[in-house]
Symmetry: C2
Subunit: 482 residues, 2 copies
């Protein structure tokens, strides 16, 4: 046995030891592992050996490095379930028809004792609520006049400046004058679609696709065309281009494509920079206006802040829609749209829709962003959501049948789950709700019936109650299979 | 000379004395005059003589009685200008095309040193801003979870209960479950039009008509048909019925009528109960859905709270839209819609538009309404607005040419003014703006050109600065006439 081979064994032994710590949940998904120096001291091995061990675990998908920070347990380190791969939606533009189901669901929000896994709310325990309450009181006292009036049509300058500054982290250079504050991302998308499309036009979307997008398209009198989408890499560019070709051929061209390149809801997919560039090129070639929904963009689990489409060459006229609903509080209803050459048109439409956005929430969020606490909060939020998504993935693997497929989101806080045996998720929804567990049936994420066997779960919070809720869903699945 | 004739002279003398006090502005528009008993003591005449004197002044339009309260100086006691009578709009449905002008105006909002007479904001000095600031801080501290989340789709229960309770004062029995909270009255109207009309339909409106109404109709893909309207009594029912007949005849029936029976903007007109009943009957006969904009309903100058259409027989399916933007604060953006049989549809549309309304402003207003301070505030507001509208009317009579016509609003806080010599109000707007006085050109209140010689002035505040602003407009008018 040569010295080299002994070293081989050594780094494998170190790797096995760390793997054991992860499997025993001493280190949980999202946790930082001991530093290389520390582990080298503890195990009495060289720095090189520890680095080799960590590289092995990285190759096995158990851990991942973060620059200047160390190694972290991967969110899906313990996962045993397979992932869904690529969707196969209908090739015809269609209308969203699930308003009734969605409405019935929203009526459950206030129900007492509900384990809420249906709607994608941020974790309130994570929010600096006391700090926000202090800020709210201070803003109301110090700027009574600013918080009472209609305010400028595009929103208050203070928050538009903060949004422009933060866009830089996503690779985009945006002037505060280009930002129009809206009632969350939902109104931003409604305005964008109205500004960009002619009545009855076809809008390409990812499939599955958040129901809010499908509702906005419907409201604008347009039709949704769902495009095949990979559960990690996002929209299939080939499928988009052939759909564009086909729709042009039949005289009903795709006029807009509403996509969520960063941590799509419900998939959690993230497009690569190369794919984003290619998407812009395809849109350019086919006269398609890109509308980007970036609400989860700040909530990636690993690596830096992914770029928005606007950051790339040719992205000047991508209409960027986003909000603070997923990062701070949906109840503030502060979103925005940056619309390139449609800016003037969108500002006018905004006035017709709702005149202006409420002043106080804008001013409070502007203060929160200005004082610097937001970045720290966001770092904690990312880590927590990565860990909670990991924990929920594990619980799904534990309580659901092994034939279940589950996404491995790269950011955000929802899981997209394919039930075994073509189980009807609407039946599952009803049965779980009777047992006070609230989930989202997959039908809401398409204009068609293609996702009847899917559910979406919100993983923003983790608690014993959530775990019990997942166990209950598992029991419901088992009893529906019988 | 009989004793009777001496008494005649006596009450005329008393009346002349009181008239003098009003003309010398010892008692100003909106002020309460001395009680009958007090005046009888002061003047050494009988109660009957004082009553006769007050009746004479009432007949002359100088004062008016309020039940259980006494006699008040009429808002227009000193007014020398004539009123506009009835409008004569085009008889063809049409589209609103003044978005660009309106947008340019909204960009002036933040301009320093502007005398703001263009937009109809409540007087902030009247608002209990300190109390509201305390409430905001308390709500944020005590209900962090309620103020952070999406909240129920129809809005928080607490505010819906208050709205239902207050509707009773306007003669309507409404359940909190019928109320959907919106982003101000603007979103309420947008939702109502979408729910009620087929695309391209014709909507009857008063003429002149608030631009927000015309924008909402345009946004919903509908056409506005302006109906002749009297400046005190509101929409002409004869004209509405013949328009309904004519539109049916040409196969493009009026599907909805969006009216503001109580203190219409910009006229300040108020329909009588008899006219309201007749309006409902006409709508019923012609399959027209009534959508009522009641934002100024709480701000009548005299008499009790006028009834909403819903208070009358057959009014169950009138869609009632309103907000707190004119009474409390536009920046809160809290409005509502009560939609009868369209409730379900409107709740769904609301979700597609903007998901839900911001939580915090709802909770704060609910608290403000609950603790009882609101009614007291409203009494003060009504009195102040009556007085300010009176003062502005006088200043207009003083500084504008005598051929000017001005409305005598019965509530709200805007004046609608017809300039002499077909003067172009857009030119006046531009000239006044250069001198830092901001007014609203009449063109914004119609789809046509009919109100080019009109302007609307907001009279919610009164100050030396406002008077100087009106003097400046007067100078501009004189220089444009040369």
């Amino acid at each position: 046995m040569t010295s080299e081979r002994r070293e081989d064994r050594l780094y494998e032994q170190v790797a096995a030891k760390v793997r054991g710590l992860i499997m025993d949940r001493i280190y949980r998904p999202g946790d930082r592992l001991p530093s290389v120096r520390e582990l080298s001291r503890q195990c009495g091995v060289s720095i090189t050996t520890v680095l080799d061990a960590y590289r092995l675990l990285e190759d096995q998908g158990l851990i991942h490095p973060r620059p200047q920070s160390g190694y972290y347990v991967h969110a899906y380190a313990n996962l045993r379930l397979a992932e869904p791969t690529i969707s196969s939606p209908s090739k015809s533009p269609s209308h969203f028809t699930r308003d009734e189901m969605l409405q019935a669901m929203t009526h459950q929000i206030d129900r007492k004792g509900l384990v809420e896994l249906a709607f994608a709310n941020p974790d309130p325990d994570l929010l600096p609520l006391a700090k926000l309450a202090r800020l709210i009181g201070a803003v109301a006292r110090e700027h009574p006049e600013a918080s009472y009036g209609y305010g400028p049509p595009s929103g208050h300058r203070a928050i538009r400046e903060q949004i422009a500054q933060r866009a830089f982290a996503a690779g985009a250079v945006i002037s505060p004058n280009e930002v129009v504050i809206t009632m969350g991302c939902q109104e931003a998308m409604c305005l964008a679609l109205r500004a960009v499309c002619r009545p009855g036009a076809v809008v390409a979307v990812e499939s599955p696709c958040h129901y809010g997008v499908l509702q906005a398209i419907q409201l604008a009198g347009l039709r949704s065309l769902e495009i095949r989408t990979r559960s990690r890499e996002g929209i299939s560019l080939d499928s988009l281009e052939s759909a564009a070709f086909e729709q042009k051929r039949i005289g009903s061209p795709i006029e807009a494509c509403l996509v969520s390149p960063n941590f799509q809801n419900p998939l959690g997919s993230c497009m690569s920079d190369a794919d984003k560039k290619e998407l812009i090129a395809i849109a350019g070639r086919n006269d398609i206006v890109l509308i980007e929904d970036d609400v989860y963009g700040d909530l990636g689990f690993e690596g830096g802040r992914p770029k928005v489409l606007r950051a790339f060459e040719g992205g000047e006229n991508v209409v960027l829609c986003s909000s603070f609903s997923k990062t701070i509080a949906p109840g503030y209803r502060v979103g925005w749209v940056v619309a390139g050459k449609w800016h003037t048109q969108i500002e006018r439409l905004k006035h017709s829709f709702t005149i202006s956005a409420p002043s106080l929430p804008q001013l409070v969020i502007a203060d929160f962003l200005t004082d610097g606490g937001y970045d720290q909060y966001l770092r904690r939020a990312r880590k927590t959501y990565a860990a909670n998504v990991g924990r929920m993935s594990e619980a799904v693997a534990k309580y659901f049948p092994p034939e279940t497929l589950a996404t491995r989101p790269l950011g955000g806080y929802v899981l997209w789950i394919q039930l075994p045996d073509c189980l009807d998720s609407v039946a599952l929804y009803a049965m779980a709700l009777e047992r006070n567990v609230f989930l989202c049936p997959g039908l809401l994420f398409s204009t068609g019936d293609g996702y009847r066997r899917f559910i979406r779960l919100s993983a923003s919070r983790w608690s014993a109650e959530v775990e019990t809720g997942l166990a209950t869903i598992g029991e419901c699945i088992h009893s529906l299979r019988v």
